[in-house]
Amino acid sequence: MKILTLLGLLSACFLANSINIEVCTSRFWFNYRHVANTLSVYRSVKRLGIPDSHIVLMLADDMACNHRNPKPATVFSHKNMELNVYGDDVEVDYRGYEVTVENFLRVLTGRLPPSTPRSKRLLSDDRSNILIYLTGHGGNGFLKFQDSEEISNVELADAFEQMWQKRRYNELLFIIDTCQGASMYERFYSPNIMALASSQVGEDSLSHQPDLAIGVHLMDRYTFYMLEFLEDIHPASKTNMNDLFKVCPKSQCVSTPGHRTDLFLRDPGSVLITDFFGSVRKVELTMDAINLTDPIKQMEENPVNGEEQKEVYSYADQLPVSEIIHQKPKQKDWHPPDGFILGLWTLILLVFFKTYGIKHLKHIF
């Protein structure tokens, strides 16, 4: 036990930065509340100090600019339109159809093609605390992505194990707000993971309140009360995880929120909320400086080099405008007929000769 506490203390010392991944997996206008959930969590962590470079935000559909949105360019999280969580400082890294199970797993495990920019990668190391927030429609052991595919709890557990093997996280907090959310964390087996879910297996997570002007439900209950809890946190607060576990009891949420801490090394009471939701920076004063005495070398002007480097850039043609304007038909190369056409004609010929006999062949050729 002593070794565990010592290792746990070391984990606390080792923290260098926090990284967030927030995923909304539902599309269509009536799933407005899932986008609002994700954006509200995004707003809270940004308020507590995490910069955009440390957040990977994945939204499966665009609610702010949706045709059915009566207030365009806004996403509200509270009725009476008190809080616009969209704002003008949102950086969505994966949007629309880019939010797929494959991309999500690629972000987690780091197996992205080399051309992926920094903002779409999870640049964590062994000193990062990662918060993963998932919301959408789920079931017993799976989470639905984009209404067409699903991620199972085994795949998620395997992805976390691969992250652990490569030391891509120091500690991981997993929050899921879906129906039967507790089934998603049942299969985790990697160390240093703490998980929270909005409902147990067999229960549904319910939405909070509809807004009559917008016409849809604005938020889910668990995230709504969690956000109320987070509003009281400021960057220097000392609230710990045990308080987060108490958020949204059955009387408010109707479903029973669950949590799992057996894989976590530290005692949840000693884990600060700001370890995951805020950004911790350790700072040291620079005591020494090096005495530099050489004068600055003047940069020699190199006219030859300068001229060589002047490459001429031009824009690639975005649309074949000249062709559209002049309505010239595109020159198509002749291709031999493909298999389907050949098969169809063979069938027709066979039927013909079967019916009428082979002696008619000489009339054709």
Binding site: L6, L7, L10, C13, F14, A16, N17, G49, I50, P51, D52, S53, E102, L105, R106, T109, G110, R111, L112, P113, P117, R118, S119, R121, L123, D125, D126, R127, S152, V154, E155, D158, E161, Q162, Q165, K166, R167, P235, S279, V280, R281, K282, V283, E284, L285, T286, M287, D288, A289, I290, N291, L292, T293, D294, P295, I296, K297, Q298, M299
Partner: protein, 556 residues
């Protein structure tokens, strides 16, 4: 007499049985292997046994140390010492003992230790990883009174043996004095047990000896093939200050020599930018006793996050970024000083954050009077600024700031900002870290591929793994011999190959099928085909049994 059409002749029955048997034979002999092969995932061969051997990670490090004795009174005694030392059990260090040559003697007669160091360096260049320790007599005036050891900028150290080194004293006493001194020198200049344990902290949960080693291990960036360095000038008040900094020249003169020296370790790319109207996120307090604004150490942690949002980064690579910010306070909050926990002013007026970068506050209010016309044109003194940034860069890259033992004098690092032995130390810890990380990556990849039986392993991944294993074995062999340069190179190749193999995008296709889905797919395909075969097999078996029973009945 006509045979009813439904009667089955023996010949027909025979033919039916043969047909059923041959279909069953085709299904079992041809069909099942074909189905097995076509639904198999392609897994190229991996050198699993070699990977298991590597996982044990038995590292042997050795460094070449040469101990050179300058002329003492009594050559015979020195010869005795040398012979005796050579017969002793060799330790981790390959130690060679000899007397100094004439030219080295001349060099050791120089007036100051720094000059002696320089001329010794001119005589012979030590390869990286090795050390030369010169033992000088007490009578020599190279070192000041209270200093017994001088550690030079390159790979030499001067050790002074005290007055007891005279003819008449026993060998043991002399050795008793010499050995611990040399051990101390090696502790400072070459790798030590703590260094290696820290470098292996990935695999070994190390119990930190003291707070300094925790801080040291947390501060430096992890080993990476490249780093991006960004210099930013923050000017929150362009209406009052028009700042000019010769960043290109300063980087070329002050920073580039260090980076060139560090090029065996990693590639560096540098860029710079100027940001206007960016304030620090914290309001400084006015201290009337100093007539200045102060920032105390506790509020510094909150400075970085608001600024980082504005910095931007080079989107092209995923290398770690080191940010160095030069903040010139606006005229309303000038001058601005940073105070430590004891309310003392920090002389460099700068602070740094582990694994992120450094910030320096540069006050310009002294450069102009109160009646000047705004905006004031200010030329920033780049030597002073770069001195601070260079010190921060050293710390962030892992050059440890250890305090030497008493009686030691460490030469200030030269204009490159890094002594040769400091570079050696970095190279030792980097090689070990690279080897440990690459080994962990390869073993965990092998373990994962073993556990998740459905991942497809392509040929290129197998090739990367094999080349990583080969490079690791070569790196460990070179470390054993003491060729630090080659060891580092091989370890870098190993880490590149292992990372490429582990993070290959094709390894994501986890074909996970839950059991009920497997049944749902196979049953509609195979059940309609298997049912007639099984039934006809059963019919054949029951007919054979019936015939046997008839034969038994006939016999009796």
């Amino acid at each position: 007499k006509s045979i009813s059409p439904t009667a089955v002749t023996p010949l027909d029955r025979r033919r039916g049985q043969l047909a059923a048997l041959s279909i069953a034979a085709v299904v079992i002999i041809v069909g099942v292997p074909l189905w097995w092969r076509t639904t198999e995932t392609y897994r190229a061969w991996l050198p699993v046994s070699q990977i298991k051997d590597l996982a044990k990670l038995q590292l042997h490090l050795s460094a070449d140390v040469e101990v050179v004795f300058a002329r003492v009174d009594g050559d015979l005694l020195v010869q005795f010492i040398i012979l005796r030392l050579q017969n002793m059990k060799p330790a981790r260090y390959e130690t060679k003992y000899r007397t100094a040559t004439i030219m080295e003697e001349d060099a050791l007669k120089k007036p100051t230790a720094a000059e002696a160091d320089l001329s010794l360096h001119m005589l012979s260049e030590s390869p990286c990883g090795s050390l030369v320790v010169y033992v000088i007599p007490e009578s020599s005036s190279l070192l000041p009174e209270d200093v017994n050891v001088y550690i030079g900028q390159r790979r030499t150290a001067l050790v002074r043996i005290s007055a007891q080194m005279r003819v008449g004293k026993t060998l043991e006493q002399l050795l008793a004095q010499l050995e611990p001194r040399i051990k101390q020198v090696l502790q400072v200049m070459s790798f030590s047990h703590t260094d290696i344990t820290v470098a292996l902290s990935d695999r070994v949960r190390f119990r930190p000896g003291n707070k300094e080693s925790i801080a040291d291990s947390m501060r430096a960036f992890k080993s990476s093939p490249g780093y991006e360095i960004t210099f930013s000038l923050l000017n929150p008040d362009p209406k009052s200050h028009q700042l000019h900094w010769d960043i290109e020249g300063a980087v070329q003169t002050y920073i580039q020599p260090l980076l060139t020296k560090l090029s065996p370790l990693a590639n560096f790319s540098i860029d710079s930018q100027t940001l206007y109207y960016t304030m620090l996120g914290v309001t400084p307090r006015f201290d009337s006793s100093l007539e200045a604004y102060t920032l105390n150490a506790d509020s510094l942690a909150h400075v970085i996050n608001p600024v980082e949002a504005r910095l931007g980064s080079n989107a092209a690579s995923s290398n770690p970024v080191l940010n160095f910010l030069l903040y010139v306070p606006d005229i309303r909050h000038s001058p601005l000083y940073i105070h430590d926990h004891r309310k003392q002013e920090v002389p460099s007026n700068a602070f740094h954050s582990p694994r992120w970068g450094g910030i320096m506050v540069y006050n310009v209010n002294g450069f102009y009077g109160s009646e000047t016309e705004f905006p004031v044109h200010v030329n920033i003194n780049m030597a002073k600024v770069m001195g601070v940034f260079l010190a921060q860069l050293r710390l962030l890259l892992g050059v440890q700031s250890l305090s030497p033992p008493p009686g030691f004098l460490v030469a200030p690092c030269g204009s490159t900002g890094l002594a040769d032995w400091e570079l050696d130390r970095l190279m030792w810890s980097r090689s070990v870290e690279n080897i440990a990380t690459a080994t962990t990556t390869i073993t965990s990849l092998a373990q994962l591929l073993d556990q998740i039986g459905n991942i497809v392993i392509n040929d290129n991944i197998a090739q990367q793994v094999s080349s990583a294993v080969t490079s690791l074995q070569l790196a460990m062999a070179e470390l054993e011999v003491g060729n630090l340069g080659f060891a580092l190179q091989y370890s870098k190749e190993a880490i590149l190959a292992s990372e490429k193999a582990f993070f290959d995008p094709s390894l994501l296709h986890l074909l996970y099928f839950p059991d009920d889905q497997k049944f749902a797919i196979y049953i509609p395909l195979f059940l309609p085909m298997c049912v007639p075969i099984l039934l006809s097999m059963l019919k054949i078996v029951s007919e054979v049994r019936q015939r046997r029973r008839e034969k038994q009945a006939k016999k009796e």
